[in-house]
Amino acid sequence: MKQKNYDYDSFQLYTVQLDKFKNCYIEVTFRSDVRECSSCLRNFLANYMTHTTEKYKTIREMMIAREELYQVGIQSNVYREGYNLFTSFCCDFIHPKYVKDKNYLNHILDFLMEILLKPNFSNQTASEKDFLYLKEHLHVQIDQYKESPYSYAMLEGTKELFPNSISGTRVLGTHEELDSINQEDIVKEYTRMFENSYCEIGIIGDLDMDKIAKYFKSHFYKPSIVTKDIPFVIDNPLQKPRKVEKDSIYSQTQLVQFYQLEPLNYFEDEYASIIFELVLGNADLADKLARYLRVKESLCYCSNFHIRYAGKYAAVYVGLNKENLSISLQMIHKAMKEMAHLEKEKEFIEAQKEKLLANIDLKYDSIYEILENYYFHEIKGSPLLEEYKENIPKVTYKDLEALAHKFHESLLYILKEKEGESCAEN
């Protein structure tokens, strides 16, 4: 595995050359400050760019072109970490050696350039037909989370927890935001994205990276250099514990206990917190939450725990019968309290460290994970996979105990099942 970067001032190439996979992958990312743009509008633009271009006006034409390139995978993703808004255009294709067409790689790169540099705009406006089609789609997408009780509870709970913070909003935006966007806004956002964003291009596969870098240098264009520092953590202030209960249309009660976090140091954020997650609520049926909630008390099928340090919060989730709310809550508090006293769990913690190391090995089997790891290492300073392997064994039970003191109980969000759905108490 050989990494090499190319700095072209207004954009950077991060490349990983390796001969392990039968496919290759390119991800072009525009990274902006979410406080200076609308993620809803940006998401609209990203969808528009992968939906229609100057040459391929309809989805059908776009799909035929993709199939002719052996089903090159093209998709856009808009996501957020802290104040960073990432807009990425991903291009996944079979290695040219499996294809008879000798110019296959150039055709792939040309196709990617068509998407990035030749959007379907005329007279400073987006095509009406595609604009309206996507708008309707995005309206539906905004509501899609309501089809999953888990997503609904997590999203509505986060909104309730952070009513005045970006952490409480969604990248997709709201129906009102979407309705306020017009065809001209799409064109303006395209210009703004190219002018006000970092542009970072990740490339991975068994490819001649110098040759690809040369291609990008001569074919890709980005006008301005961005140097602004954009924080990866949103400093949400601590709040007092409170409880919010809502009715729902779902068959099962959803419980989300939020915690807020004090600032973590690099070691805690990158290494200790992952082990903390596993020990408390992410280790199959062996973690503390599962031990109490499912194995001991038979209260639930599914529980989990996740830390979202970008918003300085964490959440325990349980799907359960409403009759069992109070005992479940006692068990959650008991499990969390025990995280500050872990000496007896030393053996279990060692097993979780080993498990995490095995998970890191799993990442080496994914072309996407390898590139993502290298990309975040370069832009944010996250550890490389090798660094994880080196430092995970250094996490001690005392590190986890210290971490436990940085968690503060916050909102308890309960989404009650619809009336008449309750099973007998277990």
Partner: protein, 428 residues
């Protein structure tokens, strides 16, 4: 040990058999950093009626799944999965309609992982207290599924298509089934199906096939099993007619979802599986996929938000399914039905899509975990590894497609619609 070369794909699977009848498959992937082990028992949620010798047994729906849960706990009540967790590995179990799997993933301690995997289901004692302990989590799992539209559409579609098949019933059982499943049910199911002659083990990853096969045989050699009497699973005489042509229900969806299905006797087709399925899926893709003019027309006229189509084989029938998300099901469903009655053969599109399928097949082997699921399902269904799938795709001719189209009868159709709750509908 036999070697199976997957033709044109640069992939090799080794196979062998233990003395007790347990079949072994090892897919060696030298570039992988991790390994997976899956123990497959060829009995699943649909196997509720069976005969051993002269004795007929019927267990409630959900028994196979209940047993899977039970087997995930140790005699002291602690989870069996913890054994793998302590090795730094991940493990899981799942019940499918016709088989049940127990699996682990790891990158170290291959031998220990394999032994835990192979001992997982061996010689289990049953006790009432542990059976009872699983009831609560299973009831919650059942309730979790109640709001999943994918499950609702699957079961309602099965109920619309078939009058007799057990695929009509929830694999996990109903709430009543779960409350009624007894230790005797669970135990009799275990005794009937959990035998090496009714199982196989599939190992994939960067492993040495000779070593793995040796370890498995070593593990199995001292295991004692009763004589295998193959249970006769119930057979169903399914009428040609669909059980209910139209069905709708309110559900937790934001936009209506509709499923148009065609039921065709498998024996109608002169081309057999798996080629038949490849051809049917190609035809559906050409007619309903992203490059079809029909789909473009529906999208342009804002009638549908999404559209998908595929073919599958369920026991003695081929089922073609077109699923749509639309605000106007009443308008769109007849259009879909009409299109299904006039499926076209478009040579240029078919050729292009064969090229795509081959590319997908080659790349599919890069995703080890997904591909092992495909291979396991293939072994379970066909009883062997199909080693010439790529050749089959490349061999598809115009004549094959036209033959399938000629034999395809669309007389029996069913429609299932999931609609938002009344309150939601007003907001659309």
């Amino acid at each position: 040990m036999q070697k199976i070369n997957l033709q044109g794909l640069d992939e090799v699977i080794y196979t062998d058999e233990c003395e007790n009848g347990l079949k072994i498959y090892v897919w060696v992937k030298p570039t992988a950093k991790h390994f997976n082990g899956t123990y497959v028992v060829k009995a699943g949620s649909e196997d509720v009626k069976f005969t051993i010798g002269n004795k007929n047994t019927e267990v409630p729906f959900g028994t196979a799944h209940y047993l899977e849960h039970y087997l995930c706990s140790k005699p002291d009540g602690s989870p069996y999965l913890k054994n793998f967790n302590d090795l730094g590995s991940v493990s899981n179990a799942a019940t499918y309609p016709t088989y049940t799997i127990f699996e682990c993933f790891g990158s170290n301690h291959l031998e220990e992982n394999l032994n835990y995997l192979l001992d997982w289901t061996y010689q289990k004692a049953f006790d009432e207290e542990r059976v009872e302990k699983e009831r609560g989590p299973i009831l919650e799992e059942f309730r979790m599924y109640l709001d999943q539209h994918a499950r609702a559409s699957y079961y309602e579609t099965q109920r619309s298509l078939f009058s007799t098949y057990p695929s009509r019933e929830y694999g996990i059982g109903t709430e009543e089934d779960i409350l009624n499943i007894s230790m005797k049910d669970v135990e009799s199911y275990y005794n009937a199906f959990y035998h090496p002659k009714n199982s196989f083990v599939f190992i994939s990853g960067n492993v040495d096939a000779v070593e793995v096969i040796h370890l498995i045989k070593e593990n199995q050699k001292d295991k004692v099993y009763s004589k295998w009497i193959e249970p006769k699973k119930a057979k169903y005489k399914e009428p040609k007619k669909v059980a209910r042509p139209y069905f709708e229900k309110e559900f937790a969806v934001e936009v209506p979802r509709a499923y148009v299905n065609v039921k065709i006797p498998l024996k109608n087709f002169s081309i057999k599986e798996p080629l038949l399925l490849h051809i049917l899926n190609l035809i559906l893709n050409v007619n309903f996929g992203l490059t079809s003019l029909f789909r473009e027309k529906l999208i342009d006229s804002k009638l549908v938000l999404s559209l998908g189509a595929w073919a599958r084989i369920i026991r003695d029938y081929v089922v073609l399914e077109v699923s749509i998300r639309t605000k106007y099901p009443e308008e769109v469903i007849p259009m879909i039905q009409e299109k299904l009655m006039s499926l076209e053969y478009l040579e240029e599109d078919i050729k292009r899509k064969i090229k795509v399928l081959i590319s997908n097949m080659v790349l599919g082997f890069e995703d080890i975990d997904e591909m092992k699921d495909v291979l396991i399902s293939m072994i379970e269904h066909y009883g062997k590894v199909i080693d010439h799938n790529k050749d089959l795709l490349e061999s598809i001719s115009k004549e094959d497609c036209l033959t399938v189209l000629n034999e395809l009868s669309t007389k029996e159709m069913s429609v299932v619609v999931l609609k938002p709750f009344e309150k939601k509908k007003d907001e659309l």
